[in-house]
Symmetry: C2
Subunit: 364 residues, 2 copies
């Protein structure tokens, strides 16, 4: 037998910058033109973002090609939307010299980022998140993906943005439900990494609910710092990055089982409570679940599984979790507020099926 080894060369380290400033949206387009003069800009957004005035603020007097995702929200986070975007790029003769500008919430960023990852084997993308969830989480870290007809994020890629621009003033146009749900990823960051940051939520809950721009700026920075420190160490989720999935295993399943009636952050809130109950059952918790539940309740998100959700279906979705091995996922659990349990070097650990099933029953 003849053997021939093909080398895959080292890829050098790189970086991208997150810019955070209230009221900066109107200045970003000029910056994009200056930073990427040779790239053809293609904006991906949705009707809600346009209606809130953010598209007009971003582009000003410029008239770039714009794709508006319709309908806005999770229902469009599907491979069909990515296909439609890419065919639109092709019809307008966009090439590899494309810069996709993702303006909107988490679904816009996930869809646009994935389209960038697979259009002509990859083009550049900048993220301009306009929602609490996108600013706290999805715009940073390079995870992109869309759903299939069967499960969440069945299609996806790791594709780092060229830059992220955060203007917390865009959060003022969100409705209360979207706004509050998106705060939960920040609470999750506090739970996995920083007990002082958790106390910040406890102390500032009124200012947060009143959308105080200074407090929101502090939250945006803290979220990006925590997320960046994790994804820098493990960009493709071999191990440590999995701590960002705290509350997400049950959260994703609840979100899917609700037919996306529940928002992502609302589902993660339920997932955080589920994780806390698992921790109590496994003897890891020390009375902290009450504090966590209280802050989630104050932020106005659900902390129990809605009665309409079928438990059997929920279990089936958990089995299909994208991180499942042998049809059962591992779980990220806390040792304490601000500290994730690490067992034999692993940040996601085994939890027996019957224990999870019991907790799901209790959580209705």
């Amino acid at each position: 037998m003849v053997r021939l080894d093909v080398k895959i060369p080292q890829v050098e380290a790189g970086s991208y910058t997150i810019y955070i400033e209230a009221g900066s949206l109107c200045a970003i387009w000029e910056r994009l033109e200056a930073d990427y003069p040779n790239l053809q800009k293609f904006v991906v957004t949705d009707a809600n973002v346009a209606a809130a005035g953010h598209l007009a603020t971003l582009i000003g007097k410029n008239s770039p090609q714009v794709y508006s995702i319709d309908p806005p929200g999770e229902a469009s986070k599907h491979i069909d939307t990515v296909i439609a975007i890419i065919e639109e790029l092709e019809k307008a003769f966009f090439g590899r010299d494309t810069l996709i500008v993702a303006l909107g919430g988490g679904t816009v960023g996930d869809i646009a980022g994935f389209a960038a990852a697979i259009f002509k084997r990859g083009v550049k993308v900048v993220q301009i998140p306009t929602t609490t969830v996108a600013q706290a989480d999805s715009s940073v870290g390079g995870k992109t993906g869309v759903d299939s007809s069967i499960s969440k994020n069945a299609f996806g890629a790791f594709w780092q943005p060229e830059a992220v621009f955060i203007d917390v003033k865009t959060l003022l146009t969100l409705d209360d439900r979207q706004y509050c749900a998106g705060l939960i990823e920040g609470v999750k960051h506090a739970l996995i990494a920083d007990s002082e940051y958790f106390e910040f939520y406890e102390k500032n809950v009124d200012a947060i609910k009143n959308r105080d721009l200074d407090v929101l700026g502090e939250i945006a920075l803290k979220n990006c710092q925590i997320k960046a420190s994790v994804v820098e160490k493990d960009p493709t989720e071999k191990n440590l990055r999995r701590i960002l999935n705290y509350g997400h295993t049950i959260g994703h399943a609840v979100e899917t089982a609700s037919g996306f009636e529940l928002l992502h952050g609302e589902s993660v809130a339920i997932g955080i409570i589920a994780a806390g109950m698992i921790e109590e059952e496994m003897g890891l918790a020390t009375g902290r679940l009450g504090r966590i539940e209280q802050i989630l309740r104050k932020l106005g998100v659900p902390v129990r599984i809605p009665a309409e959700i079928d438990k059997k279906q929920l279990i089936n979705i958990v089995k299909r979790d994208k991180k499942a091995v042998n049809q059962w996922p591992k779980f990220v659990l806390l040792e304490d507020i601000g500290k994730v349990l690490c067992k034999n070097g692993q940040w996601a650990v085994d939890v027996p099926r019957d224990l999870v099933e019991k907790i799901l029953t209790d959580l209705y």
Copy 2:
């Protein structure tokens, strides 16, 4: 404004192995089980490959999950096929611990490789190419992709295989047309990198047409060596790798314009002649086009654009080339047999539109 830099860490160098041996197909499954004991194997193939007996030879008494692409060939190299494969993986509860085993020609490899690249943000794939074109070209180098309804390879990713297994004996079941068309990528390798290898084609054309396994083994090795030496230096086609596209700019356009009635290798043969004519017009050639045309004719592939192909449509497709900038691609051209023209450090160079249009007219 607050700025926060997110580091993207270095990715270490790696490698994968190409194994070449006539008659080895029956031993590969055992090797996969030994090398990847913890991965769930999912075979992607097509009805032609199964009918030729290669699927049975590969799996023997094992019964892995198999997805058979239907219909076989370019018509299925579409994003819809990738979606169908991924939904099949999901229905069978495959997770990130999946090994996709691509058994077949170039389209099977491209489809299966792309499905691996985007299923749950990427799973492992091994390539077992069974055609001349796949053994010469597409199974090595990590380019994956599928077509949209508008153009070729609109969707794609760079995704390296874990290993490539080449059994030249599988070539014995190909029909003459497929067999000959697939040889053209090897001729292209000779043209861009190795004049002695080009002479090897001239000397051994009868043995090649008679499918002499020793000669085919030599060709397989030479093709992999040339391709590997290029992709190692430039895995993501920033510059040097573009030399592998010799003959492909017009070739791809002719292939698309023929509605895929022409095979990839047949189209590339026409593209090689087009490139040669461009070289003559630009004063680069020294009477070598006759030699090139002769070997292509002996290998039984077309060297002129079929009359049915609409020239206007052809030009439009060239404008949409995935490497086009400002709606016009650059061209890879030869300085001599075995040597690509490099201009100001660039391996793909500008050619005026009217010159290309003139040559396309002459080439009918």
